[in-house]
Symmetry: C2
Subunit: 360 residues, 2 copies
């Protein structure tokens, strides 16, 4: 079975990303982190029946005592209550500071387990074992962890890098179609903001990707992780360039929040958000109209939404104002100058945004 390894270069906080089919069984990938320690698997009730036993066997082979913490599946459960369930389970088993949390699942599980690791006894190690496309190309890499607050997505969290990311591409076979498409939205994002050639490759391979062709998928995941790892290495805590990764996310988070968590998948909201951001970039920025149309057409081919629900202006502004990139009430947008090149726009005139949202 072929696999690839790349590295997030963050000095003493650097770590490997392993990508390949069947990696969940490879004890030697886990051993450097979990050997001689307790490994507490954090997963959900959909993923656990599929992969938890195999992972437990690999962790046991790697020389660790295992513990399983099963949460309910879904963005609606990325809450205090789930986080507390993790703490309760750790404390009930007297888990000490040497315990390693192992996030087995999608972005919700990864964010929850990562934040629990960031805060349990002021910080313990964790591993990310992402089983969704979105988690493999995006949320498992880079150390952003969070939970949602009723007033805003990912409002409570921490930067806490994992000890390794182990992405078993074979797990994507069990992913529901809607979740798979949502993951492709983030793949498209990397092309849109950073790599026009990659975007062209996605266009040329859209059908193979949708058919989950293993070779095409492996390339898409590897290239996405390469781009993300490079940007994170340059700006771990989002003081600058890392904000480009939020392309589509300011509109997207507002859609997710205003519609109620769980109605839209994160990737779906990002797709619609990217379509909005591309249209805005064409109308008020430098993006050629044809480029905006090209991006939107690709998202549509990948069966992703490109239109937002019709929220009143006040709803848009309320939820966009709560975006973490907002500063002093001014909304920061990530705009495209061309396909493959994005920029941070802090100077968006409120009137332009108002008019745009009025007929979004």
């Amino acid at each position: 079975m072929s696999s690839a390894t790349l590295r997030v270069e963050l000095g003493s906080r650097g770590y490997p990303i392993h990508i390949g089919a069947g990696l969940i069984d490879r004890a030697e990938l886990f051993a450097p982190i979990v050997s001689g320690r307790t490994a507490a698997i954090v997963t959900n009730d959909v993923v656990a029946p599929l992969y938890a036993e195999r992972l437990e066997r690999a962790l046991a082979s790697a020389g660790s005592r295992t513990l399983r913490i099963v949460l309910r599946d879904g963005e609606a459960f990325k809450t205090w209550e789930s986080l507390n369930a993790i703490y309760d389970a750790l404390l009930a088993s007297q888990a000490d500071r040497r315990t390693v949390l192992v996030a087995l699942g999608g972005g919700v599980v990864g964010d929850l387990a990562g934040f629990a690791a960031a805060t349990y006894q002021r910080g313990i190690a964790h591993l990310q074992v992402p089983t969704t496309l979105l988690a493999q190309v995006d949320s498992s890499v880079g150390g952003k962890t969070a939970i949602n607050h009723p007033l805003g997505k990912n409002m409570i969290g921490a930067f806490h890098q994992p000890g390794a990311v182990i992405a078993d591409t074979a797990t994507l076979a069990t992913l529901p179609p809607r979740e798979f498409a949502a993951g492709l939205a983030e793949v498209v994002k990397y092309g849109a903001i950073h790599d026009r050639d990659f975007l062209a490759w996605i266009e040329a391979n859209a059908e193979r990707l949708q058919a989950r062709d293993p070779e095409a998928l492996a390339h898409a995941i590897l290239r996405s992780c390469e781009i993300k790892a490079a940007i994170v290495a340059e700006d771990e805590r989002e003081a600058g360039v890392r904000a480009l990764l939020n392309f589509g996310h300011t509109f997207g988070h507002a859609i997710e929040s205003a519609a109620g968590y769980g109605t839209w998948l994160h990737g779906e909201a990002v797709a619609a958000g990217m379509a909005l951001a591309a249209r805005f970039s064409a109308r008020h920025g430098r993006l050629p109209e044809d480029d905006a149309k090209r991006l939107i057409a690709l998202l549509e081919r990948l069966r992703l939404p490109v239109k937002a629900p019709r929220f009143p202006r006040e709803v848009w502004l309320e939820f966009m104002g709560r975006d973490k990139k907002a500063e002093g009430g001014r909304i920061t947008l990530i705009l495209l100058d061309q396909l493959g090149r994005a920029r941070i726009a802090k100077d968006t005139p409120q009137r332009a945004l108002d008019e745009f949202l009025a007929d979004a």
Copy 2:
């Protein structure tokens, strides 16, 4: 008005500690952090009526918009619920990433505000304005933040250094006698673990300290902060030497937890914990019996408890096993080799501990 400034040397995370009477009114100390930003004061219902207005005036003079978040007073409120109250208030006022939290109060307020700052939008700045002796000599310095969990004290938290510590020694005038004495326990701790001369100075000045003589207090606070700052600079995340600061805390935390938060003040439990640790150091370690007696006599002169409640052995072991310094079920103790010199003991035989606790 005289004041002193020292610095916690932590590179880009380094910060000043200002110590002196009346500092709460000195806008120029706050300005470098809060100018042009929103400053959200986190305080409690006992401290707010005493000092919040003055602090607000200073912060406004320093060029910030202020916001006041008032929690209920006491260790019993160092909980999720209080933390959520801070998040709710911040989100309700659309506080952005440039917001600065200002902790005005004792250790509970400092830990809560610090942890809220560590986790709101993945980390914002904060200032510590400690108004209790314990907070001025210990908890406001060093970046440890936490909340309690029903199964253990400070189990959930983060390392998050403040932007500055501003310790107004005049605020100690309003401190209830029991809380004042509890703060002296931590002052004694610095002498016991690190500075025999300072311990002798405390003995010589015990009456002046209890009378809250401003000059004696200023010296005690400055020397305590110097010792803590040096240890934190050497070992920010408690990989080694910083653990010495936990002298008396393994027994102390067990006392606090087993008795129920709020029954014992933290400093009281630490005093009894230090007395136990000193006796254990004499019986099973290298500390001369007379040195143990001398330390215990000083704690008694300062009107601090030197005996623990009579818990069953199982209760001791359960709560000590949950201590964050426990590893693989083995309990780590900080023992004294002599007054002024402590060491980390990971090799304490369980039988010795059992026998000791049986007649503690």
